[in-house]
């Protein structure tokens, strides 16, 4: 009488065990996938087409408080780069001065597209958005051209510095050709500090 019931219990227990195993396996697979993608995204990236040697005229754009900017700029100056004043010597921030040419980000709002318009302006509005992207890039290119011609800047260097477990990155543009000549993603290490990251980027730029 008891044998089939015991068999059924055993089957149920087996199914529960299997379910648990399946769940654990699924969670492990998801964790593995997340970890793999996260690691892949934090991999270091480096490409250098030409050296940006000490002595070059450079503009450095870095989005951080002024005191940290000073540390970064001082590092470049100590290595003999000729750092042109761009967002370096200002008593005000770039945000206060520049509008569309501020090298920051695109942000625009327009009253078009409101529901109370007589006709559907969505398509025209979308087209206007697309044109604004092209215009924005074109105006930046013109500004970079002016930077080179009027202020004798050769390289524009962009940096973003991040803490441990995150990625610091940099890019350099040769304003003579408008070409990207150096890119680097540097996974910040535990023992890194502000100065060691900047030193790393300067060495990388100079091809050392």
């Amino acid at each position: 009488m008891c044998a089939p019931r015991a068999g059924a219990n055993f089957m149920d227990r087996g199914a529960i065990m299997l379910n648990r195993r399946a769940r654990i396996l699924t969670i492990c697979a998801l964790a593995l996938l997340t970890a793999a993608v996260a690691c892949a995204q934090k991999k270091s990236v480096k490409f250098s087409k030409q050296k940006v040697a000490p002595g070059s005229n450079v503009v450095i754009i870095i989005d951080c408080p002024t005191n940290i900017q000073n540390v970064v700029l001082a590092k470049f100056m100590a290595k003999d780069y000729r750092v042109k004043a761009f967002n370096a010597s200002d008593l005000y921030t770039m945000k206060d001065v520049f509008d569309i040419r501020d090298f920051k980000k695109l942000a625009r709002k327009s009253p078009l597209g409101k529901d109370d318009l007589l006709i559907n302006a969505q398509k025209a509005h979308d087209n206007l958005y697309k044109l604004s992207i092209y215009n924005y890039e074109m105006q930046k290119a013109e500004t970079l051209g002016e930077m080179k011609d009027k202020h004798n800047v050769r390289y524009l260097i962009l940096l973003e510095l991040n803490d441990w477990e995150r990625v610091s990155w940099g890019r350099a543009i040769d304003l003579a050709s408008y070409e990207l000549v150096w890119v680097e993603n540097y996974p910040t290490r535990y023992r890194d500090n502000l100065e060691s990251i900047v030193d790393h980027f300067i060495d990388s730029l100079a091809g050392m």
Binding site: L30, A40, Y134, E142, Y178, V183
Partner: protein, 352 residues
Amino acid sequence: MKPAALFITALVLASLLGSPGTARADAAFGYLHNRSGNGNYDYLETIFPNSFASSISSLHDIVVLKPGIVDERLKKRGLALKKSYTPRELPKIADGAGADFFISGDFLPLPGNRIEIRLHICERKTREVFSFVNTGKMETEIFRLVERISAVVATYLRQDGLYKTRAIPAGTRVALISNLSGKELNRLYLPFLEKGFPVLCAQNNDIGEIDDGSRFSNLRYISTRTGSFAAPDDAPEAHFFHGPWNNAGFNRQVDETGRFFRLYDSGYVETKDKTLERFSKGFRDSVDVLLIVGFSEDRRTSWLRAIDMKDRNLMWMRSNIAPDSRFDDPVAAIGQKIADSMGTDTGPAPVR
């Protein structure tokens, strides 16, 4: 329970490891309208679509419906197959034809025994319309033209909206605009730089991202003289009463509104051409190709549009680009796929 549990695990693993597949498409053909007004060419209105359908069916193994069958299907739904349609009408006809794609278009005989053929391909599911223009010689070379256009259509239907007019060899100077920024943008640039494509400083001098919510996806829709991809809007055509009874202030408002819509809607291609010309001058004519790459929010899929800056025409279009493995960094993998396929005639391999 045991097989069910195993099945669920296998399904999860398969979905993690595998990639999305593509289904086989079928296409319905409408007529090709004779734009010349010369009745001597009217016979081509039926011959062209039938020839395209036969060629696509036999050479490219795609299921096709010829105009006669499409007309019968439409009649059952109280519609009739017309010789030409406005872009706005196409999704409704595509629904009526019952195929994945509805293809119609027009042609114009040109001086010098040449002919210009324009096709509109409307996808029933997305209601988006891809249009392209191809020009060739009549008479002896007409079959070659039919085969060439059939190949373009078949590639578009079978390979996730792929359209490419030519290969882009290493050394071509590329201005790249995307909705990535910072370290992600560096990972996208790397394969292009390593493949020997000079990347110009469009966008890459941004510290902040260019992405403005979902607005960047508007750039998926593109309009050029020889190729465009658009979602026809449903806005009704508005007719305004306008005449001597209107006062000057109202007339001025109407003029200003009209100018806005001429610039950014009906005459958008001309406006954009002028903008791209200024864009080119801004970069001192150093841009060969403008490459626009849009990523989904999770970065796992991407689309691209490429404009030839010499003639401002669409030269490459592709949707649904995805990494082959879910363990890869999607931005780097997609960038690698695009960079690898720059030099080929057909673009990245379709996702299978």
